[in-house]
């Protein structure tokens, strides 16, 4: 085992903050930058997606779940062989991973964990807005969010007028009817309704007759990419992928955990296709509530754990790298003797990403979005300014 606390993220705690300025807004307003968050629900197994190479502890405890033909990323980490799109991005310096990371939540309930991954808080249900929504509010990005879901995810709460896209299986009424409704709303001073109907009417002119779009994440992502690409389009998009809670038959390369990872991978690809060159000004991050136990259970699945990994893609990444302050997998190095530890507060990554994409000083995000919690500024380390 060669790895010993390499690729430290700790060093980057020195910040960009200039003394004497009060929360300077970094001047970089000429290009539109986009942030995409993919929520992985159910607890993504970071060690299945990005396994460590040559660790006896790992191989011993997961005999039946070890993957064949993994893709080597560096001397210490490999990639799940089905994540081909991510690997392509990686090869172009458009893909990176933060490993052994999680939100500061250790109780292993999906219910509470998913709430906290979206609010960014410490106490389940105590905060009613999402960290992304609060970050957008700080950046004054009203109306710039796009959820690829029907209800607005909690993650985006905190700023009004976000758009969402989740195609109905039914046909919209004809455009002139929508325009009539819009003019009625406007006449009756129902401005919010009028704005929404404007968006809907525009959508209906774009759609091709009665063929309704698929709700598969891969096609939603293509659509999102095309929208984000527009100079006056949304700047933030949010996806959800379910099914990571694999207590049984998690399996190897063709197991059920792989199915969900493949879905995530298809989003990376479709976003890249939709965005075209604008992938260069985009950052895509994943978010999950916790990782999974090192040890396989009696049903060849895994239980709820703690540390997981964050996938990142896009041109705002500095380079392809697995960033980790690796805690090790010996029993005493595990969290409560069973889980991969989290050595990096995942919120540090999200706060740094918002700082980079929204051009807001990290300390302001730390203070106003995350209540001044102790987070590291990783912007310099991970992202292009």
């Amino acid at each position: 085992m060669k790895i010993s606390r390499r690729n430290f993220l700790k060093g980057s705690a020195t910040t960009l903050f200039f003394a004497g300025f009060n929360f300077p807004v970094l001047a970089n307003t000429d290009k539109k930058k986009n942030l995409v968050v993919i929520m992985l629900r159910g607890g993504m197994d970071g060690l299945c997606a990005v396994p460590i190479i040559g660790d006896k502890n790992f191989e011993k405890r997961r005999k039946d779940l070890i993957l064949d033909r993994t893709i080597k990323l560096d001397s210490d980490f490999a990639l799940h062989p089905k994540l081909k799109n991510f690997h392509n991005l990686w090869k172009k310096n458009l893909g990176a991973v933060v490993h052994a990371t999680n939100i500061p939540y250790t109780k292993r309930s999906h219910f509470d964990g998913q709430n906290l991954m979206e609010t960014g808080g410490h106490i389940p249900y105590a905060v009613k807005t999402g960290w992304l929504g609060r970050g957008m509010k700080l950046a004054e990005l009203k109306g710039d969010g796009l959820a690829l879901a029907l209800p607005m995810p909690l993650l985006l709460r905190g700023i009004p007028s976000n758009d969402n896209f989740y195609p109905s299986k039914k046909r919209l009424p004809r455009t002139e009817l929508l325009k009539l409704l819009k003019s009625i709303y406007a006449e009756k001073s129902e401005h919010d309704l009028a704005n929404m109907m404007e968006i809907i009417a525009n959508r209906s002119t774009m759609s091709s007759g009665g063929t309704s779009m698929s709700r598969k994440n891969s096609s939603l992502a293509l659509k999102a990419g095309l929208e984000l690409k527009k100079i006056n389009g949304p700047r933030v998009a949010v996806f959800e992928v379910d099914g990571f809670d694999t207590h049984a038959a998690q399996g190897g390369v063709n197991g059920s955990h792989s199915d969900s990872l493949i879905e995530m991978d298809s989003i990376f690809k479709s976003l890249e296709m939709g965005l075209g060159n604008e992938i260069q000004n985009t950052l895509v991050l994943t978010l999950t509530e916790f990782g999974r136990t090192i040890e396989q259970n009696g049903g060849r699945g895994t239980e709820h754990g703690y540390g997981s990994a964050i996938f990142m893609t896009g041109g705002l990444l500095k380079k392809s790298q697995v960033y980790a302050d690796w805690p090790g997998l010996k029993r005493k190095e595990l969290f409560e003797g069973r889980d991969l530890n989290s050595t990096i507060d995942a919120r540090s990554v999200y706060a740094s990403a918002m700082s980079t994409v929204f051009d807001i000083d990290f300390k302001r995000i730390q203070k106003e979005v995350f209540w001044g919690d102790k987070l590291q500024n990783l912007s310099e380390k991970l992202f292009k300014s």
Partner: protein, 475 residues
């Protein structure tokens, strides 16, 4: 004034005459809890919970082990188990029961308030509660207590199996309790889970306005420690809720300055104190006004409701009547944006949409089978509209703030499902005359509305516009 029928109920249906005294019409619906108007099968919560037990046991203890190397086999057998336990059927049946109260009963005002309370003491999306027991919980614990004091509803909801399980109180173990000691001897730590205690304070009774502290939450959790389902090897977590003294935190607890002794009785004493706290009645009055009248209730609106509460000791029929009267008094000044569910029911009632499958059709369902598509129509429709009543995302239930229901996709759903609904109407209600009478009966500006919708010739277009006019979206 006519929007009052839509504000506190779902408007007037084709066979209903406008009552001579609308306020009395509404108030008279609130004294008793009539039998359900659904004439098909209605299962007790306990029976549905047993189906849930069969599902979790079968999945967790049998299939996961049996199919550990066979993803496809696992999927296949799990699907069989779903149907063997009615997982895709029961919640559709519950929605039939629920919506019959709005559309077919003599007490639609009671129904609209039932939905309010079900959402106040929400069981949000967790495990498969929605598919098995949430509807029954709302029948047996919420609706059944709507002619009682608020306290009784709060007591029963708090120790209802659904609520205890939903808010993790089975994991709430006093750190100095016997169980925590046993755990320590095995090198494990067990302690308090504050979830349920926090929601009891924040969402169900006094609200943060009363100024409780984190310490109050912890102390409340100590009081609640030990309340959990009776565990069994086969029952797993689905046993009846009981008080287990081994998990209860010893010693005296202090919540909002008051002391509570250790033991079983302290929870019910604490709930009595919480529901009698002035912040509780104020909070409920605010929420009732927010649900019925406006996003931003004023003190003047809340006051009569608080007074009625004080006079009747929180007797719900009196509290409801006061709220309805306030809604009546403000009905010309305020229009409330209707959530998708209430909007759908309004449209179905006024336009005579055949929303609910018939009892005989639903009762054809046999366990072990996949329900046929039309038996699942309601569940899918509510999901499409964005507000399945048993799948609120969080314990605070579905929002009753307009802004939360305004997104392009949510409005698109109203457009497309207004159109769908039109085709579920009987032929005799697909006439211009039917619409003229309905609009006359239910809207205060019938001629203006007719002028707008008559810009279209086809009735289906008139229908879509009518149910997306501001006058309909807001009542």
């Amino acid at each position: 004034m006519k929007n009052f029928y839509r504000k506190v109920a779902f408007g007037l249906g084709p066979n209903e005459q406008a009552p001579s005294d609308p306020l009395e019409w509404a108030k008279n619906q609130l004294n008793d809890i009539p039998e359900f108007s659904w004439k098909g099968k209605i299962l007790p919560e306990k029976e549905l919970r047993n189906y849930y037990r069969d599902y979790v046991y079968g999945d967790r203890k049998v299939l996961r082990k049996k199919f550990k190397n066979d993803k496809e086999g696992y999927k296949r057998e799990k699907n069989k188990l779903r149907h063997a336990t009615g997982q895709k059927f029961w919640w559709n049946l519950e929605l039939c029961i629920r919506y019959s109260e709005a559309l077919k009963s003599e007490t639609p005002v009671l129904a609209k308030l039932w939905y309010f309370w079900g959402n106040h003491f929400a069981i949000s999306e967790k495990d498969f509660l929605a598919q098995y027991t949430t509807g029954a919980y709302q029948r047996e614990i919420i609706r059944a207590n709507m002619n009682q004091n608020f306290e009784k509803m709060a007591q029963e909801a708090t120790i209802g199996w659904s609520m205890i399980h939903h808010l993790d109180n089975e994991q709430n173990i006093g750190p100095k309790s016997q169980e925590a000691k046993w755990a320590r001897e095995k090198g494990k730590t067990k302690g308090v889970n504050e979830n349920h205690a926090r929601e009891l304070l924040e969402l169900h009774t006094v609200s943060p306005d009363c100024g409780y502290t984190q310490e109050d939450v912890i102390q409340m959790a100590y009081i609640m420690s030990g309340w959990r389902p009776k565990w069994g090897k086969k029952r797993l977590e689905t046993g009846d809720v009981h008080f287990n003294p081994d998990a209860h935190e010893p010693g005296t607890k202090i919540v909002l300055g008051k002391k509570y002794k250790r033991g079983r009785k302290s929870l019910s004493v604490a709930i009595t104190d919480l529901v009698n706290h002035p912040s509780c009645r104020k909070f409920i009055a605010m929420k009732l006004c927010r649900y019925l009248i406006t996003d931003n209730p004023t003190e003047d609106m809340m006051e009569p409701i608080i007074k009625a509460w004080e006079k009747s000791d929180g007797f719900l029929p009196e509290v409801h009547k006061a709220a309805i009267e306030v809604a009546f008094n403000y009905s010309d000044k305020y229009n409330k944006f209707q959530n998708p569910e209430n909007w759908l029911l309004q449209m179905s009632k006024m336009a005579d949409v055949d929303l609910i499958p018939s009892p005989s059709f639903m009762d054809l369902y046999q366990l072990g089978n996949k329900p046929i598509k039309d038996q699942r129509a309601l569940e899918r429709l509510m999901d499409e509209l964005g507000q399945h009543p048993y799948l609120a995302k969080q314990p605070n239930g579905w929002s009753d703030i307009s802004e939360d229901w305004m997104s392009p996709e949510l409005l698109i759903r109203r457009l497309v499902y207004a159109r769908e609904a039109y085709y579920k109407k009987s032929g005799k209600s697909q006439t211009t005359k039917f619409y003229e009478e309905m609009i006359e009966k239910n809207y205060d500006n019938p001629s203006e509305i007719l002028q707008i919708i008559n810009q279209y010739k086809e009735l289906v277009h008139k229908h879509v516009i009518l149910f997306n006019l501001p006058e309909t979206l807001k009542s």
